[in-house]
């Protein structure tokens, strides 16, 4: 076998002994021998086979194309240097294979010296490093692209570079990357630096369907689509795409879907060739690797966009809700703030924020409380909520609500994340609302007073009349002869009694109609009801309303503002009376009842009036809704808001018969187990009764 291999081309190589040659021929590496002056002397069989050339042709390498023409000058210079200095040769150049393809080789030349140390020959070993070279270059390209991704370079820059790189690695090809709009299922922007916008532009907006283009088919079927020759490929014959590609001189189109990790098709990677064909294995490897890198770049760009969008959304939400966020690592004093936090504190954006800077913005009155809290926050770690006032450099005051939460980092450090909300507007609005509400309640009371004028006059005139009559009688009895002292004394007593009665009426009026701020106390709703009834009795009488009181015995007290609750009762009572003013065919009956229902005290006012449309019990409470042409709709609305502020509810229900029932529930006074005399009394009664 070895003898068979040792064949011809070794005509004249005296220094090499045949057994060495035998060995050299059996080695798959390329081995050559050159003389001390650089002339090729011989080579092994592998060399001849690789080049597909004769030794004579090889000897003329400096003028043939066996070595890549671009590499020849450098190679000559290197050999010259080595021959002069005797230094070992080490270089890389491209050698043309028999099929015409240049491959990279590493040349390794060792000098052979005689006993005097003179160089007599050089042994040259040529190692094929083409695959290695390509892998290196591909790796460098990938590295550069991934760096761009990592640095957050714009997507168009990355994809343009990607195409350029693939085109460099596969010089006979041109490339394009097309993005897909997932919502519209249409091709979005395309990137093809060598083909230009003129090529990608018209493809934008083309639907992602198999018939539109090879890229459409690749995206839909999620698999690579090879169009060997677009000119004759039946799948796109006569399509707008076909003529578009041909107009750019493209014949072969190889489309590969770019798929995200979750399996979504993000776009396609198209490789073109100006002559028909299929991708080689090397090209396929390139396509596979760079399609993958494109997917990383596109996914990254998408998530960057999503983050940017959500950041913008968050910033907008913070601005709209006047809520800022901040982050404080306890060991340092620096606080990281959102834009809105800067705005709330009136700090120039970008300024480093420290605890000290924040402290300088706290209102002096709140400073001590704030500082104590901050110090505590350095050591304790829980959720905290507090409200502070800020005093900004421009002199304005803000109310802020602060919530913070502690978390421990992996290294065990404490971090605070918090939000701060500017509640100034809400505070001011609440105060204004409170004032308005009290004004409105007063107006409503005065309006009610107007409606009650006649009734009140009646209530006052009645005892006044008694006083005048009794005083007249008294004078007459005293003036008689003999004076009727006993009768006079009796009439004088009645005068006093009527006077007291008048002053009681005035006192009740004053209590009910004086503008007072809210005063909470314990109230007996029965008693409050009786007082209201006493004031409106004559009004009811003149309206020929028969009133019945069904007040529960032992009604537990409620907590609230006596005047306001009486105003509600009065409102309900006058409403009921008004609702019956046109009723002629049935008795005008009014029943006021109090009951206890679980934790609530309940008061209802039932009339036999015209009632209301069952469809609009809620509208009844709208400020200006009224079923009466001359009505005071505002009364019900105010009544409802009074009840709500007492933690109660105001309800309107149509009666089964004629009329309606308006009622309210209000929580009974909290029963403090310790020292609640009412409770003990009731218990005793229950036990006795």
């Amino acid at each position: 076998m070895a003898k068979d291999l040792a064949v011809a081309p070794v005509e004249r190589v005296p220094p090499i002994r045949p057994d060495y040659l035998l060995v050299a021929d059996s080695v798959p590496a390329l081995i050559g021998v050159i003389a001390a002056d650089g002339a090729v002397e011989s080579c092994n069989r592998a060399v001849l086979e690789y080049f597909g050339a004769t030794l004579e042709e090889i000897k003329g390498w400096t003028t043939s194309k066996l070595v890549h023409p671009d590499d020849i000058p450098a190679e000559i210079a290197r050999q010259k240097h080595a021959l002069e200095t005797g230094e070992r040769m080490l270089s890389e150049h491209r050698l043309r294979r028999a099929d015409g393809v240049y491959r990279w080789f590493q040349i390794h030349g060792e000098p052979l010296r005689n006993s005097e140390g003179e160089i007599v020959q050089w042994y040259m070993l040529q190692t094929d490093i083409d695959d290695l070279k390509r892998a290196e270059s591909q790796l460098a390209g990938e590295k550069r692209l991934l760096e761009m991704v990592a640095l957050g370079r714009p997507l168009h820059e990355i994809l343009d570079s990607l195409c350029a790189f693939v085109e460099q690695a596969a010089p006979e090809c041109q490339c394009a990357v097309f993005l897909i709009d997932p919502a519209e299922q249409k091709f979005d922007k395309g990137f093809a630096p060598s083909l230009g916008d003129a090529y990608t532009g018209p493809l934008r907006g083309v639907p992602v369907v198999p018939g539109s283009a090879p890229c459409g088919a690749a995206a839909i079927h999620k698999t690579q689509v090879i169009a060997f020759d677009i000119e004759s490929d039946p799948r796109w014959l006569g399509s707008p795409y076909q003529s578009h590609a041909l107009a750019f001189g493209l014949r072969a189109v190889w489309s590969t879907p770019i798929v995200s990790r979750s399996g979504e098709v993000l776009g396609t990677f198209a490789v073109y060739q100006r002559h028909p064909g299929s991708p080689t294995q090397i090209q396929q490897d390139l396509i596979a690797q760079f399609t993958y890198i494109a997917s990383i770049a596109i996914e990254r760009a998408k998530s960057d966009n999503a983050i940017r969008r959500s950041e913008a959304f968050l910033a907008e939400a913070q601005r709209l809700s006047s809520t800022g966020s901040f982050y404080w690592r306890r060991t340092t004093d620096e606080i990281i703030c959102s834009d809105e936090t800067y705005r709330i504190f009136g700090i120039e954006p970008g300024t480093p924020v420290t605890v000290k800077l924040i402290t300088s913005r706290i209102h002096p009155d709140d400073l001590q409380r704030f500082s104590a809290r901050v110090e505590a926050r350095r050591t304790d770690g829980s959720r905290a909520e507090a409200e502070y006032r800020l005093l900004l450099p421009d002199g304005s005051i803000k109310f802020v609500h602060l919530v913070s939460q502690t978390t421990a980092t992996e290294s065990g450090e404490m971090e605070y994340t918090g939000v701060i909300q500017d509640v100034t507007e809400a505070r001011v609005a609440a105060e204004t609302l409170g004032k308005l509400r009290s004004e409105l309640a007063h107006v409503a009371r005065v309006t009610t007073l107007g409606a009650l004028t006649a009734s009140i006059a009646h209530e006052v005139n009645q005892p006044l009349s008694g006083i005048v009559t009794n005083a007249s009688t008294c004078l007459r009895m005293l003036a008689a002869d003999p004076p009727n002292v006993e009768g006079a004394r009796e009439t004088a007593r009645r005068t006093i009694r009527d006077g007291e009665r008048a002053s009681e009426v005035i006192a009740r009026l004053r209590a009910l109609f004086t503008k007072k701020t809210t005063a909470s106390g314990s109230i007996d709703l029965n008693e409050a009801t009786r007082e209201v009834v006493a004031l409106s009795m004559s009004e009811l009488q003149s309206q020929r309303v028969a009133l019945r009181l069904e007040l529960a015995n032992d009604l537990p007290p409620v907590i609230g503002d006596r005047v306001q609750l009486q105003q509600v009762i009065l409102n309900l009572l006058l409403n009921a009376s008004d609702a019956m003013s046109t009723v002629e065919d049935r008795p005008r009956e009014l029943v006021i009842a109090t009951t206890v229902e679980a934790a609530d005290v309940h008061l209802s006012v039932r009339d036999t009036g015209i009632g209301f449309d069952a469809g609009d019990p809620d509208r009844l409470f709208d400020a200006f809704y009224t079923t009466k042409s001359s009505g005071m709709g505002i009364g019900l609305s105010v009544s409802r808001s009074i009840m709500e502020r007492h933690g109660g509810r105001l309800l309107a229900t149509p009666n089964r018969g004629p009329g309606a029932t308006f009622s309210f529930s209000i929580p009974r006074e909290a029963q403090d187990v310790l020292g609640a005399p009412g409770l003990t009394d009731r218990h005793q009664r229950i036990m006795v009764g």
């Binding site: 006649a454 006059a457 009646h458 209530e459 005139n461 009645q462 005892p463 006044l464 009349s465 008694g466 006083i467 005048v468 009559t469 009794n470 007249s472 009688t473 007459r476 009895m477 008689a480 009768g487 009439t491 009645r494 009694r497 009527d498 009665r501 004559s538 009488q541 003149s542 020929r544 028969a546």
Partner: protein
């Protein structure tokens, strides 16, 4: 000496029924008080009543109701209305219906005496 003229008082307010009779007795009238119109109608003292002092607003049958009832029964007793209500339209209505006078509480003894005297003369 002729018997004192009988003045009947109808008022639901107890203090009126207490005070007014004493004053009218001082004037020399005989007085009878009733708490409601119905009570007066049932008393059988309508014939001898020379003047009726009548409250306008009362539960059940009101003063004007009684005025109409007496007309219907053809018993035109002269009526002096008294009311604690300042609504003058009510007064006008009863005067148009034939009442002698309408006094608004509180009224002076002079006004009352003048009204009752006029009523008795009318009758």
């Amino acid at each position: 000496m002729t018997a004192a003229a009988l003045v009947s008082i109808v008022d639901d307010d107890e203090s009126v029924r207490e005070s007014l009779p004493d004053l009218l007795k001082e004037f020399g009238f005989a007085v009878q008080s009733f708490a409601s119109a119905e009570e007066f109608l049932a008393s059988g003292r309508m014939e001898e009543t020379r003047c009726l002092v009548l409250d306008i607003a009362m539960p059940g049958m009101s003063g004007p109701d009684l005025q109409r009832e007496l007309m219907r029964r053809n018993q035109p007793i002269p009526i002096v209305f008294i009311t604690a209500n300042e609504d003058s339209s009510e007064c006008a209505r009863v005067l148009l219906a034939g009442a002698v006078s309408c006094l608004i509480k509180p009224f002076s003894e002079t006004a009352l005496l003048r009204a009752i005297t006029k009523a008795i003369q009318t009758g």
